[in-house]
């Protein structure tokens, strides 16, 4: 990690304010990561992504408007944004849908925060994802 590199910008999208804010504080505590926007639903997420073009969008799998649809629209508006799915339980069907929508990885809520931040770094430094339509 070089000090000169600018921090990865992160958009957090979760309808639960407690999660949203705790996650913001966890990420902002990392010197190489910075939260640039918080969204509580799909519309907010898409609008914020269009304006901020964050490096990473953490999107709750289960949220108003649907996690997968949100991921897809965020990538429409901000093609360089990488998606990290965030989920409260193992729902492989939902996780597959997120993958198809372009999510590169997923973490479960309740995972140790070091796992969460390393997933953000991993996704943020990954190659720009292929267009899911080409997969």
């Amino acid at each position: 990690m070089t000090a000169a590199a600018p921090p990865l910008t992160v958009l957090i999208c979760d309808d639960d304010a407690r999660i949203r804010e705790a996650l913001r504080d966890v990420i902002n505590a990392q010197p190489d990561l910075t939260v640039v926007a918080l969204a509580a639903d799909a519309d907010q997420a898409v609008a914020l992504a269009a304006r901020q073009h964050p490096d990473v969008a953490i999107i709750d799998v289960r949220m108003p408007g649907g996690g997968a649809a949100t991921a897809r629209e965020v990538r429409d508006q901000s093609p360089d944004t990488r998606i990290l799915a965030f989920s409260a339980h193992h729902d492989n069907g939902a996780i597959r849908e997120m993958e198809q929508a372009g999510a590169l990885d997923y973490v479960v809520k309740g995972a140790p925060i070091r796992d969460i931040v390393s997933a953000v770094r991993r996704v943020g430094s990954a190659e720009s994802p292929d267009d899911p339509a080409d997969q």
Partner: protein, 497 residues
């Protein structure tokens, strides 16, 4: 035209009309079934043949010259039967008699006897020809047949569970049994001679159903019908009816056999059963809805809250120094563990994806997720062509869950396979493991339900299916169950989940 060989004249060449004596003697010697002999005008035996010896036991020397009354029973002698027979033969030319006769050894046989008076050209009585046949066997057979028919008649007569009766060719009642009286209420006198249409409700008579049934029976041999029928008092019962057309040897219709069974109770039992099933299905639905609601509550609130708290505790721990850092870190770990347990609870309460994906996919996910923890190779073989309705799918999933819990806890298996296949109007599911196998049948005995046997079986039986668990010959255990999957029901898909 073929020329006759001169050395062997054809039998037809004898034009005298009289067979040679030699042939007659041959005939007489070889007739085994008829004792043929002659009596003089007073009734003494004059001739004897081989069959007579065989049937009656006397040799010719012993019997010739004896009076033929020797063959009669004492009680027949007492009423003068031998003399009476001869007198009748004299008067009428011949007499036929049937009755017990005595052999030389005193044993009896049932004889058919024909005595013919023999006159010469001058109308002088020269004696009697007597032909006796041993009918004992035939009589026994006839009697056996008669008894068997009688028994059968009594059986039919006394059967009370079925109305068994006959119709003539035009549909009028000609016989009646106890069951018919019990089921339909008419006595034999009341119903005999009446047309069987009286058993049908008015709407069926108007629709020509009685005639239609008879026509079908005539055309196809038999007809089976089920529907309401009337008792004598006008009340209705639900009847299963079989009408069989009865033809004689010359394919002439002689009438119809009719067997009617009162199915009212069974029909009601079936209806009650389906009412009970409906109720239980409703219960299962309500239970699943309740579980889903709890799962959502836990998912949307408890997990979020605790996950957030867990993150904050860990964050705080990073910002503090020891020993507080370690203590907070440990608290954070415990909260995360609790979140994981809640996550498993949610999964158990509401199988993820069962509403949205196929049953097989939901099972695959469940296996992938749980099987990974205990290091078992898991496979789902899906032969289903159509998806079972959600309620059936949930029941199948639940039983699989329970069976897999057993495999995990008890089987020490290396591999487990779930096989789904269509069978009849439902789904046959097999959960097969290669573990140590249950110690049947002790493990299936009633008692502490440590294998969840009762729960699995009740789940299956509640929805009208069956469940069984067995040790496999090749090792391991197979849990096998069948769940009806009615396709007619409108699927109730849950919302976004």
């Amino acid at each position: 035209m073929t020329s006759n060989s001169p050395s062997s004249p054809s039998p037809g060449s004898d034009t005298s009309g009289q067979p040679p004596d030699e042939i007659l003697r041959l005939l007489e010697r070889n007739i085994r079934d008829y004792a043929i002999f002659m009596l003089d005008p007073d009734g003494h035996v004059m001739t004897w043949n081989a069959a007579a010896e065989r049937i009656k036991g006397y040799s010719a020397e012993e019997i010739i010259g004896q009076h033929f009354s020797t063959f009669y029973l004492p009680e027949d002698l007492a009423v003068g039967r031998p003399e009476h027979n001869l007198q009748t033969a004299v008067r009428e030319g011949r007499v036929e008699d049937e009755g017990w006769r005595v052999r030389r050894d005193g044993s009896r046989f049932w004889a058919n006897v024909v005595i013919t008076a023999l006159y010469d050209e001058r109308r002088q009585l020269r004696g009697f020809g007597k032909v006796t046949r041993d009918m004992t066997e035939r009589r026994r057979a006839e009697q056996a047949l008669r008894e068997s028919e009688e028994r059968f008649r009594l059986l039919v007569q006394d059967v009370t569970d079925y109305a068994i009766f006959m119709l003539d060719a035009t549909g009028h009642v000609i016989s009646w049994n106890a069951g018919a009286e019990r089921i339909k209420g008419y006595s034999a006198q009341e119903i005999t001679g009446r047309h069987f249409a009286v058993f049908y409700p008015r709407e069926d008579v108007a629709a020509g159903r009685p005639e239609h049934n008879l026509e079908t029976a005539m055309r196809e041999g038999r007809v089976e019908d089920e529907g309401w029928r009337l008792r004598q008092d006008g009340s209705r019962f639900w009847a299963n009816v079989v009408i069989t057309a009865l033809y004689d040897d010359r394919r002439r219709l002689r009438g119809f056999g009719k067997v009617t069974r009162d199915m009212t109770e069974r029909r009601e039992a079936e209806r009650n059963l389906s009412d009970r099933r409906r109720l239980l299905a409703h219960l299962v639905r309500a239970q699943e809805a309740e579980r889903r609601r709890i799962a959502w509550d836990v998912h949307d609130d408890s997990i979020q809250e605790m996950a957030a708290v867990g993150m904050r505790l860990q964050l705080l721990a990073e910002q503090l120094s020891e020993p507080q850092a370690g203590q907070l870190g440990e608290l954070g770990d415990r909260v995360n563990d609790a979140v994981n347990r809640l996550r498993n609870l949610v999964t158990r309460l509401r199988p993820p994806g069962i509403d949205r994906q196929s049953l097989a996919a939901a099972l695959s996910d469940y296996l992938a997720e749980t099987g990974a923890d205990w290091g078992v190779k898991s496979t789902v073989e899906n032969k289903l062509v159509t998806e079972p309705p959600p309620e059936s799918a949930v029941t199948i999933f639940r039983i699989c869950q329970e069976a897999l819990t057993n495999v995990r806890k008890h089987a020490q298996a290396k591999a487990v396979t779930i096989r789904l296949s269509p069978q009849g109007s439902g789904v046959l599911t097999q959960v097969i493991d290669d573990g140590m196998g249950i110690e049947e049948p002790s493990d299936l005995r009633p008692g502490p339900d440590h294998f969840g046997v009762i729960e699995m079986r009740e789940r299956a039986e509640t929805v009208g299916g069956w469940w069984t668990m067995a040790r496999r010959a090749e090792g391991g255990t197979v849990v096998e169950f069948w769940i009806p999957a009615p396709s007619g029901e409108s699927p109730i898909r849950a919302g976004d989940w």
